[in-house]
Amino acid sequence: MAIRSVLGLFNNEDTAADALDALNEAGFDQSEYEVLTGTPYPEGTFGEAEPVHKLYRFPLIGAACGFIVGLLLTSGTQLAFPLVTGGKPILSIPPMAIIMYEGTMLGAILFTVVGIIFESRLPRLLMGAYNTKITEGAIGVAVTTDETKVSQAEDVLRNAGAEDLKRGWETEQNR
């Protein structure tokens, strides 16, 4: 099924929030519409759904991998070449901590960088409707839905007080 998007432009926060309510009442799912702003409004300003993200997974997995590599490297070498120094245990934690710390950090940073690139590109290979007025303070409400529902979305946005409407993402794509 082809996906289309339509953008309604609003000049104030209240009408944009009302548009979201109207879309909800018209039967659009929360995943079908989003708010576009040039300013980071506090979460929930427009009554939109709280974004779900997997950001922390990347650094956590990276940190775990780096830590494990650091641990294996340090403990493995010490166990492979066991040398008792001053009666202390073979596995000496303080020097191991240096490598394990760096391993943890390197893994976490590497995975974070990969995560940022991954999450930045994959969710939206094709960008939907957009208007440059958004960076100047206008608030956009973008509806991305089946082409059969685009006209309905336009009506809802227009009735909610959208100053301008724009279609986008006119590319066939399977859902």
Partner: protein, 472 residues
């Protein structure tokens, strides 16, 4: 719109469009002064590159003595410019409003890390392997059948990785933080410029999810930058300085090195703020609030400078073993005493006795003057620590005793090539920073627009007050 210079650094622009117009206009303008300074610093950068090439051709990398000033220049940039990024991170985490106009100024110092990464390359060749028997973190011992298997270039490997990832996390932080501003430039430009910024903005449309992710990424990358900065200082201070001086064992020195970086980082940003305000045309964006706020941080860190130094000094001084005495004779009492005194006065005494006064602390010229002193003091401090360390005879020679310094080497005065390298290090840092200002707006546009959401004027009895809110 706005006339003259504001005191609180928040130009009186009431709409996002007004902020866009004002800051994009400034971003797009390159005056004659800018181009002249860019040209001069570009030439300085080239002079530095020629200096390093000359040094390599004339002296090679065997004789560590001639590389002391190069190592000091590297450590100076690490301490100042690479520490400056922290000014964007810590106050942002505290949700301070005064730092909004200067966060990008600080973040942008991440690009200077690229210059320092280049400067680090020759040092990898200069630092001998662990085979010379110096005492290090890495437990290498040629005489031991097991410990002799420790890779002899371990310090080189870990320090390189650490520095590379420090620079990488700084650049990622700068990019992620700038995404919304890059999109703003994209939306207001056309042709090749539009395509370039569209590529950099990476599909930024300002959806709730993108803003949400951006905030979290800034937080994560900021935390990683801080952790890597401390760790890089730890490795550089240990392997590229302390381990070269026989008999110097000081658990506090690496963290002292890192703490110095936080102080010098604040000083670097204050100088950049002053230059932007005085010569860059940002007088109505960077005002008293920013100097006052950052000046207080710098003051606190100047007091810490003494605390860290004294904690190390008292152990060596009370211990007074021959190896400890020789270290004190090298880096404090001996040939580098003038450099130490300069650092002590400029990094601690002068900030203490100047910043303790309200009129000085709450001014623009006061913190700037103190910051200039701190940078000069840091310059001397890095010279005393690194030039002295690299001048020790017998580095790389396993037949020389590495447990105690028996003879204090004479002061190494800079050679003509050393001047070239220092000129290149400073010039290259400024050059790269200035080039970055052509891409990233020096004042954070989206954070200024965000501030509009959280400030309003309220009548309070017979006066009017500015009320500032904070995001939850």
């Amino acid at each position: 719109m706005h006339n003259g210079e504001s005191q609180n650094g928040q130009a009186n622009l009431a709409t996002p469009a007004g902020i866009n117009t004002d800051l994009l206009k400034r971003h797009g303008n390159t005056g004659k002064l800018f181009r002249s300074v860019l040209l001069v610093t570009g030439i300085m950068f080239l002079v530095g590159i020629v200096g390093i090439v000359l040094r390599l051709l004339e002296d090679g990398t065997e004789n560590t003595r001639v590389w002391g000033y190069h190592a000091a220049a590297f450590a100076f940039i690490l301490t100042t410019a690479q520490g400056a990024v922290m000014v964007a991170i810590a106050p942002r985490m505290a949700k301070a409003h005064w730092r909004r106009p200067i966060s990008r100024v600080a973040e942008m110092f991440a690009v200077v890390g690229i210059v320092n990464l280049l400067m680090f390359i020759p040092l990898l060749s200069v630092l001998p392997s662990l085979e010379d028997g110096r005492r290090s973190l890495w437990f290498y011992n040629a005489a031991d059948p097991i410990l002799s298997k420790v890779p002899v270039y371990t310090p080189h490997i870990w320090a390189s990785l650490s520095l590379i990832f420090l620079v990488l996390s700084g650049l990622m932080l700068l990019w992620v933080s700038s995404l919304a501003d890059l999109a703003t430039i994209r939306d207001s430009s056309s042709g090749r410029k539009h395509r370039f910024f569209a590529w950099l903005a990476n599909g930024w449309h300002g959806t709730s999810k993108q803003w949400f992710m951006k905030y979290h990424r800034i937080g994560i990358l900021g935390a990683f930058y801080f952790m890597m900065l401390i760790f890089t200082h730890f490795l550089i201070a240990t392997d590229f300085d302390m381990a070269l001086i026989p008999g110097w064992i000081d658990a506090l020195f690496p963290i002292t090195h890192a703490a110095n970086s936080l102080q010098a980082g604040c000083a670097t940003v204050i100088i950049a703020m002053f230059v932007l305000r005085r010569f860059g045309g940002y007088g109505d964006w960077i005002g008293l609030d920013q100097f006052w706020g950052l000046g207080k941080l710098m003051f606190a860190l100047s007091l810490l400078w003494f605390w860290f130094w004294f904690s190390s000094f008292i152990i060596l001084w009370y211990g007074s073993r021959p190896n400890e005495e020789s270290v004190l004779n090298l880096i404090i009492r001996g040939p580098y005493q003038p450099a130490f005194m300069a650092a002590f006065i400029l990094n601690f005494i002068a900030p203490l006795f100047m910043m303790m006064w309200n009129p000085v602390r709450k001014s623009i010229w006061g913190p700037t003057l103190v910051a200039t002193g701190i940078l000069i003091g840091t310059f001397f401090d890095r010279i005393r620590l690194y030039v002295s360390a690299y001048s020790i005879p017998g580095i790389g020679d396993s037949s020389v005793d590495k447990h105690m310094l028996h003879e204090i080497p004479q002061t190494v005065m800079p050679h003509f090539i050393d001047y070239m390298i220092w000129v290149g290090a400073i010039g290259g840092s400024v050059f790269v920073y200035m080039l970055a200002t052509r891409i990233f707006p020096i004042i954070n546009i989206w954070e200024q627009k965000e501030l509009l959401l959280y400030k309003f004027h309220k009548k309070l009895h017979r006066t009017e007050v500015l009320v500032l809110g904070k995001p939850d």
